[in-house]
Amino acid sequence: MPKLEQTEGYRIIHNWMADKGYAPFDFQLKSWKKYAQNYHGLVVAPTGFGKTYAMFLAVLIDYLNHPEQYKKGIKLLWISPLRSLAKDLQKAMQTAIDEIGLDWQAAVRNGDTSTAVRRKQERNMPDILLTTPETMHLLFSQKKNSRWFKNIRCVVVDEWHELLSTKRGVLTELAIARLRSLSPNIRIWGVSATIGNLEEAKNVLIPYKNVNTTIVTSKEKKKLKIISLLPDEVELLPWAGHLGGKLAKNVLKVIYENNTTLVFTNTRNQAEMWYQLLLNEDADLAGQIAIHHGSIDAKLRNWIEDAINEGLLKVVVCTSSLDLGVDFKPVDCVVQVGSAKGIARFMQRAGRSGHAPNEISKVYFVPTHALELIEVSALKEAVKKRDVEARTPMVLTYDVLVQFLVTLAVGEGFDKEKAFEMIRETHAFSYLTKDDFTWAMQFITKGGKTLHAYEEFHKVVFDDEKELFVVKSRRISMLHRMNIGAIVSDAMLRVKFMKGGYVGMIEEYFISKLKVGMPFVLAGRILEIVHIKDMTVIVRRSKAKKAITPSWKGGRLPLTSYLSHYLRLKLNDALQPSIRERELKFLNPLLTTQNIHSHIPKSDEFLVEKIQTREGCHLFFFPFEGRLVNEIMASLIAYRISKIQPITFSIAMNDYGFGLLSDQEIPVTEENLKIILSKENLMEDVIASINASEVASRKFRDIAVIAGLVVQSHPGARKTNKSLQSSSSLIFKVLEDYEPNNLLLRQAYTEVFNEQLEEARLHEAFDRISKSTLILKEAKSYTPLSFPIKVDSLRNTMSNEKLSDRIARLQKQQYKLIT
């Protein structure tokens, strides 16, 4: 075989690049070579270094060298997690193809693609199809779909690190397994940012034996500069909060010092608020400022993305909706409002500025409350060490399995044995047992256990003629197609202007609290409801000055264990900051307050604060383990205390710690604290303490939707399937009562243990605590550490009292009904 550099294909591509004044990076060249040698693999490079070209051009070179091996139809399939990515990628690819002088066509197909275009594609598929995991499965649910995939030579999964630890990743694995069964010689490649477990990421994407795999890593490193925006005095920073509004002036200054700034916030609600804040601060920004988040209408978002690229905007307030994607060339500055909660995410966002190779990425950090500055200080340390989190792949997700089987049945139908073999090839289902598979088959053909064969249940039936499992009912096919995917959101309504034009989407829960005429904010506009019809809210512009900003559920991510490790270290030195530690120096007065009224825990200490207020007796613990683990620890501690005396707590937590609040005195002393925090019987007590069934019921929500047990109503839909409405919690209860062996139930519990409990992390935490000195402090009022937990937190209840006892207490005390 000749060296790649000597081939015609390489020469053409090389010349084309040279004409534009580029030379391939080392990792690009290496990817091309490996691709030419029939390898499968993973390309790892920071944003802005041309990861796309590494794979896309590899396929072009191969085609130029072996045109005879390529047949009509899709040759390269490009799967990316975000719809917004596809459009720009397609443009870039088509331009390259045209300039090189090929007759290929690259096209996008996803949820935004019009029906007319989709029909056209189905008659004549493009050479390169850019799509999403969900759209892949939708294609699988069409009649005679396999003809489209027979001639595929390569599938590329873009931003694989984003999909890896999600059920969408499992959808992707299954899609690849099916593509491979239709086109056995297909080459599988992934494109990823740096994560802690690249080898595993590769093996999940390419679990197939007898193929050569490789990881191609770029040597190029992104330079990163993190600057905290600090107010003039520490008193100006609130002890708790989530907006950081006091710093709007400082942010404005940064905006004017740069060409185009992206202001990242952690939630959509925050984005809406910051958009208003900046506009209020400087009315001249009108027309040069935009807001971008997942609930804003796709058309509007596309327009904003184009406007960024053309340099028309000075600033865009956004959420994770702009985390990924094609680089916006004019963006030279990034502002992060509030902690990004993870090292990988922070670096990704930072990488959105100064995108050109070797340019420095500048990122300004806006603390929303004082303690977040310690997080930045920790973040800086972690970034310096390039210590990036791992992402754990999901396995044995029966909900996705059930959905996939029905998808196959709706499409061309499937053979039971062949399907089992194909599914078993994926990483996610490599441990799928015959029994579990049989259960899944029974679930979709009989509706449950074999003993109860329900006559009227015929979701998937066996077609004797075709000898395949198929779906015959059109209604069921339709319901299933609407339900394909693994992204579960709350019931959303589309928001539309009376005169026409969509603004975006809003949760039904939020709208239900508003009355006609009440002003609210969406996409930076003040709107009022005219009326609600079907799943659409008709609005008009409101003249009101003030309006409610909706809060969308979800979106709050816990602090990662990597970051919390650095956080504890920083806290340890907090009182003696080195000269370079700008954040810690700034915080000194606040930390001193904490130290005087309570204590600052060293890395070998564990702090507990006890505070009496009008609300009752508070106990605060500070493990700094991230919200989810803190929540589990909270119920565990509550449970252990309640063994001393029956008591009901309300539990609050944030990323740093948790608080227990009771209307009764909490019986905790320095002596019994040792036992309460001991690592003995850890998991037994955890299981006894969390109302496992309640936590699992919450987890079951997504599972029920993905497995098709709950019919989601779709924003803007005319039909709401009202007679099929039920809640996942209701179905959870029914299954717990009557079908305890249901695998979807079991999955809910497994997810609780893997994701919520993070068993390993919990063990580590208690191990550390057992080696620490316990410090119990009684404070007269909230301290800088406990205050944020008290005000800015999510709450739960833990009780070991009988419902009747609680009711008896309820009748003796004050209560409030919530309507």
């Binding site: 009901t648 309300s650 099929l724």
Partner: protein, 215 residues
């Protein structure tokens, strides 16, 4: 099953609330309930959503126990007896009903009850859109409230969310009562709770396995 009761005065009548999702009117020897949604489980299954029939059987078992306990002469269903189109669940119900042939059965039609009058008559149900007995008017969803009238309705599946001291929460099903209206909880356990109310000056009678509470 533990039956806990509480008598209230409504529209000049004494009515007995129970913690078992039914209302008993002693003077008329009438058992009153709403929103049984027979056929819901099979309807779900027809559409590919596997819900076990045990849910329906449990509802019928509960109702049987209550009928045997109160020994009513009349059974009043204030709407949504059936959930959707005719399906296998109906046969189970019709067969089950045979044991209570002596009880007079009245159905106030709900939004889900879309069959012809004859269909219900064949099952032994008199049907009405609205029916007044003494001072009490039975209607599935009391949209219009006329002065000096007293309405007993269903449809809402009422529930109540309670905030206690120490930020603790409870969510329970309930009867909602004000001076002119009484809204029944849904009888079927395969129903959700609606904790919003449009009634003014409402008293919520929430219940648990062993108590009825006035909130």
């Amino acid at each position: 099953m533990n039956i806990v009761t509480k008598d209230i005065r409504f529209g000049n009548e004494i009515l007995t609330l129970t913690n078992q999702r039914v209302l008993y009117w002693q003077a008329q020897e009438m058992l009153i309930l709403s929103d049984i949604h027979i056929g819901k489980t099979a309807h779900f299954r027809q559409h590919g959503i596997a819900i076990p029939d045990a849910v329906l059987l449990k509802d019928l078992e509960r109702l049987k126990f209550l009928i045997e306990h109160f020994q009513p002469k009349q059974l009043m269903v204030v709407g949504d007896l059936f959930h959707a189109d005719y399906n296998q669940n109906f046969d189970v119900f019709i067969h089950w009903m045979e044991q209570f042939q002596d009880v007079t059965k009245i159905l106030i039609r709900g939004n889900h009850d879309r069959f012809k009058v004859e269909f219900y008559e064949n099952l032994g149900f008199q049907t009405h859109i609205q029916k007044t007995i003494n001072t009490l008017t039975f209607v599935h969803d009391a949209v219009k409230v006329v002065a000096n009238s007293y309405y007993i309705s269903g449809h809402m599946h009422p529930g109540v969310r309670i905030k206690m001291k120490g930020r603790q929460y409870l969510k329970l099903p309930c009867f909602q009562v004000n001076s002119q209206q009484l809204i029944l909880p849904a009888f079927s356990l395969f129903t959700g709770l609606n904790t919003r109310t449009h009634l003014e000056n409402v008293v919520n009678y929430a219940f648990t396995e062993d108590a009825v509470l006035e909130l």
